[in-house]
């Protein structure tokens, strides 16, 4: 049985064309772009091309605004630490409480170091309160960092509007767009966004390559100092093969943007409708009307996510979960908690994330596979009776301790 991969928000397969583009840079074009000889200059030209391919996908005004890094996390850390270092008179960071750990863990550490961090709350659909945001913008804020799209629910934040509000007050704006780039159209030159992070492996490029977009004129302090690579803004010999691969992936993403927003979206909607119509006591999470075209996050009540994943995996279906057990912590996903999803459902959330490689036949197979799995686990659950949830699940199950 062919495996079905529906975990594209975790990582994606490298497009074969990307791999083909990369291969010569391991062998014949192995030079160091900084070298003066022909070995180096070939690589230098390839990096320039890749930079313009990334520029095109992001709609950046200048190709020098593209800085290659090792991953999304490095780009995030570079952006926030740079803003604090470049503006020592400002000690506050505004972010949201549904960010990726690449932002949240850094912000927790910054708090320990004495900085002030405001985490914006979200409502039960994962939406921000723009009035709360506006009230926090003042001249002590060094940077605002808000994700473009949420990795778990796909919910899209109004980052263009938020960046404009920050710009009015002279505050830098960064967005972690790791999930958004390649899935929704982006045109940075028509926004006030100062910095943006992207990660290659989320859009069919390899792991280990990322980008920090840095608007021309935005004050900057590098994280890594050393050689003059990336105009001295990110030292370290360029990962030329991966940069070439990322360039190719960006070109392909631009070509396939329409498919992503029509065909992929159609399959995602079919999958979600197919599951919701067959199973009771489950619901999609996040801002369903305003989310990435490839993501569906469904909460199944009274059962636990890891158990669902293990049974799906047995049928060759790969998805992911926001349950506590998949992360090794005791708390379910911070995104589900932030939205106030009840515990009865938060532990049973499953994220299906599609790509342009998924087919109609695969989606049909998943729609058929899910209902028996949910029924099987509910049969095992002490919170589930003969025909539905136990009359009052919290009371019928009376633990000695909780």
């Amino acid at each position: 049985m062919e495996p079905i991969y529906l975990d594209n928000n975790a990582t994606t397969r490298c497009d074969p064309a990307v791999v083909q583009a990369m291969l010569p840079f391991f062998t014949e074009h192995f030079g160091n772009a900084s070298s003066i000889h022909a070995f180096g200059s070939e690589v230098g030209k390839a990096l320039k091309k890749a930079r313009s391919q990334v520029q095109a996908l992001l709609g950046a005004e200048h190709d020098s605004e593209i800085i290659f890094t090792s991953c999304g996390t490095e780009s995030d850390s570079t952006a926030i630490l740079s803003a604090l270092k470049a503006q020592p008179e400002r000690n506050t960071v505004i972010t949201t409480n549904v960010e990726h750990p690449a932002i949240l863990t850094l912000c927790d550490w910054l708090e320990k170091e004495g900085y002030i961090v405001h985490k914006l709350k979200v409502d039960k659909k994962g939406r921000l309160d723009i009035d709360e945001y506006k009230s926090l913008l003042n001249d002590r804020v060094a940077i605002v960092s808000a994700m473009w799209a949420n990795n778990e629910t796909g919910t899209i934040f109004p980052v263009e509007e938020m960046a404009a509000l920050a710009a009015e007050k002279g505050i830098m704006f960064h967005t972690d767009a790791v999930q958004a780039v390649g899935k929704i159209p982006i045109d940075l030159k028509s926004t006030k966004i100062d910095m943006l992070s992207l990660s290659g492996h989320k859009l069919h490029a390899p792991k280990g390559i990322g980008v920090l977009y840095l608007r021309r004129g935005c004050r900057f302090r590098p994280l890594l100092r050393g050689g003059h690579q990336e105009r001295g803004r990110r030292a370290g010999t360029e990962n030329s093969a991966s940069i070439v691969g990322l360039g190719m992936a960006c070109e392909l993403a631009l070509q396939k943007m329409a498919i992503e927003n029509s065909e992929v979206k159609r399959l995602r909607d079919k999958l979600e409708k197919g599951i919701l119509s067959q199973i009771t006591h489950c619901f999609p999470t996040g801002d369903v009307a305003n989310r990435l075209p490839n993501t569906s996050n469904i909460a199944f009540e009274y059962i636990e996510g890891e158990a669902i994943l293990l049974l799906l995996n047995k049928l060759g279906i790969a998805a992911s979960s926001g349950s506590a057990c998949t992360s090794g912590s005791l708390e379910p996903s911070h995104v589900m908690r932030a939205m106030g999803i009840p515990y009865t459902a938060a532990h049973g959330t499953i994220r299906f994330s599609l790509s342009v490689y998924n087919t109609e036949a695969e989606i049909d197979r998943v729609i058929a596979a899910v209902p028996p799995i949910i029924a099987q686990l509910r049969k095992l659950s002490p919170y589930w009776g003969e025909k539905g949830p136990a009359a009052n699940p919290q009371e019928s199950f009376a633990p000695t301790y909780a």
Binding site: Y302, I303, E304, G305, E306, A307, L309, L310, L311, N313, K314, S323, A324, C325, T326, G328, S329, L330, P332, Y343, T344, H347, K379, L380, S381, P382, Y383, P393, Q394, F397, A398, P399, T400, Y401, A402
Partner: protein
Amino acid sequence: MWEYSDKVREHFFNPRNSGPLEEANGIGDVGSIQCGDALRLMLKVDPDTEIIEDAHFQTFGCGSAIASSSALTEIIKGMTLDQALEVSNQNIADYLDGLPPEKMHCSVMGREALQAAIANYRGEEWSDDHEEGALICKCFAIDAVMIEDVVKANNLNTVEEVTFYTKAGGGCAACHEGIEEILAQVKAERAGPGEVSPPPACPATPEAPKPPAKKLSIVEKIAKIQEVLESVRPMLQRDHGDVELADVQGKKIYVHLKGACSGCMMEAATLGGIQQKMIEALGELVQVLPSSHMPVEA
């Protein structure tokens, strides 16, 4: 994904004794939906013999929670209640050929459900001051609550002391930052509001202790060595291991590691911990080595 044993997978995919048990006369409910783990254990006990004739479970939880529940019911069927009370969480984990450290709490939940169900049958109250914190040391599955309690109870100040008392931090050492944070927090609570210095980091090499007033005779030395080994044995036995003295050659102390300790990936950490205690007890720098390192007689 977790590395589950084949046995865990098998019990998860084909759980034994799942679903309600109509004739149950002892029911134990533990866990909650908030924690993401909940287990109802149902026992059918013969009132005359106190033998568990049947056991069923219903579990809300992950793969290993369901497998642990299934294993538990298989283990206790046919046992008397007193025998069943002897079943430890380690027995459940062993039955499943082991559980990942992050998942040991699933076996603990199984044991607690068993105690609760037996108490329910006997008409007793069962309570547990169960509290579980964030997992700090993944090598030895020690959580924050346990470290904090031990630090408070024993007035500990260094990562090294925490390792001696709880084993936390004695393996890969990646959690030392987390342990230092707990130490700093407890110290701050102790000192009350005000300036607090960070706890000293674990020294890379143990400091040479002060020389003892009088040099030990070889008999006294061996007696001290035995004393140290006796003190660590209960800790090792808890993990189904053991240690005994093989030989002493100058500054080298050779020991036999037995049971689960033999071939354990944490062997070096275990020996390191014993060595530290030896150095403290003997007042001289000694080396503790596995007996396999003993020079072969010519």
